[in-house]
Amino acid sequence: MAEKKSLFKEFSKGIVIENPVLRLVLGTCPTLATTTSVRSALGMGLAASIVLVCSNIVISALRKVIPSKVRIPAYIVVIASFVTIVQMLVKAFTPELDEQLGVFLPLIVVNCIILGRAEAFAGKNPVLASAVDGLGMGIGFTAALFLMGTVREVLGAGSFLGLSIPVLSQNPMLIFILPPGGFFVFGMLMACVNRLAESRGKPRAELRGCDACPMAATCKLHNEPKPEEPQEKEATA
């Protein structure tokens, strides 16, 4: 029973409390770039979720085999394989989605959320928990993209999922689907989320910059103050 409860906790934390986009501020590039319409936002969320769940499962199954020194390249290979599979599926079955997502489909490889979960969770936890964690994070990512996509499509194009909305579609505010609108909507969304978090006594989402980066552990900019870093770096080089 206790195990079931903790599994549910792993699942639900990704959706609200540790939402990868709105709370951890990861994966900002696809969040801004693919939310010009609800359809492409959902497509991106789904594609990234599939990769996340699959790579979490494989990485967690291999966690005792992969030596810790080469773990990041190993993770990248696993993730890249799944991205290639998803890329082929999308190209074959929904070519229009492939056109909308463009370069961001192969760029799922370097999505911080996926590498971040591999490093923070899947590399240390059993298979089932990792799969559930990936699913939760994937749903959280998709939900955040859906929210952004809805705001931007309704305001910027006057439609929802391609269906036009009577009054709004007369004079859509084009700026919302242009790049500046992406930054603006994301900023406002973060302000709302921070406000909500504060009123519940939770810490606000901070821009952690390098701390959020999955490469932080191996990066010298991040570890500079530590004196023992140079020797360790030489050993890995």
């Binding site: 590039c29 801004l32 370069v103 490889v109 603006f184 406000r195 999955p214």
Partner: protein, 199 residues
């Protein structure tokens, strides 16, 4: 003449109208994360230009002579990310050993760049657009310069923002994003400029 014109048009497009950060949303993490101070912003973007040019020079022959010739185009993503990761490591080791001055200036940013979507992005875009070698190089350098321009401008904006009285709920990330939105609006002004000059 026609060729140089085309190359300069690609360069300007990559820097101004299709700015990597502000209109293509590639490399947002370092844009928001490392732009707090001007000197780190310059160092990071110099490293990005360097790696982008190197990555393009390395992946172009691999793609044309190895992958496409043998019908292995679907392996692009895996091969490119591995080549970039290996290249960054190699450059780091070589710089450390032979050009310590450059290493101390750029070295600390290099590992950050492996998983930077801007570098992989520019390489994939070069292939998608069907660019030749010279065009790819110009596009990459232009993308890097555009990245630098956006970083340096934004670092200036952020240094100003430090001394502003910002409403409490907007502090931190939200105001940074809104500021980025305004900087991005200014880049919208360049729309069509390249077509006008070269069209």
């Amino acid at each position: 003449m026609e060729l140089t014109k085309g190359l300069i048009a690609i360069l300007l497009t990559a820097i101004l109208t299709q700015n990597f950060v502000l209109s293509k949303f590639l490399g947002i993490c370092p844009f928001l994360g490392v732009s707090k101070k001007l000197n780190t912003a310059v160092g990071m973007s110099a490293a990005v230009i360097f790696v982008m040019a190197l990555a393009t020079a390395a992946t172009y022959p691999i793609n044309t002579f190895l992958l496409e010739k043998n019908g292995l185009g679907y392996l692009q993503t895996i091969v490119f990310i591995l080549v970039i990761a290996a290249l960054v490591q190699l450059v780091e080791i070589i710089l450390k050993k032979y050009i310590p001055a450059l290493y101390s200036a750029l070295g600390i940013y290099l590992p950050l760049i492996t998983t930077n979507c801007a570098v992989l992005g520019v390489v994939i875009l070069n292939v998608d657009n069907g660019y030749g070698f010279a065009q790819s190089m110009f596009n990459s350098v232009g993308a890097g310069l555009g990245f630098m321009l956006a970083m340096v401008m934004f670092a200036g904006v952020r240094e100003r923002m430090e001394s502003c009285d910002i409403p409490k709920f907007m502090r931190g990330l939200p105001i940074t994003l809104v500021a980025a939105s305004l900087v991005s609006v200014s880049f919208l002004g360049f729309t069509g400029i390249v077509e006008h000059i070269f069209g």
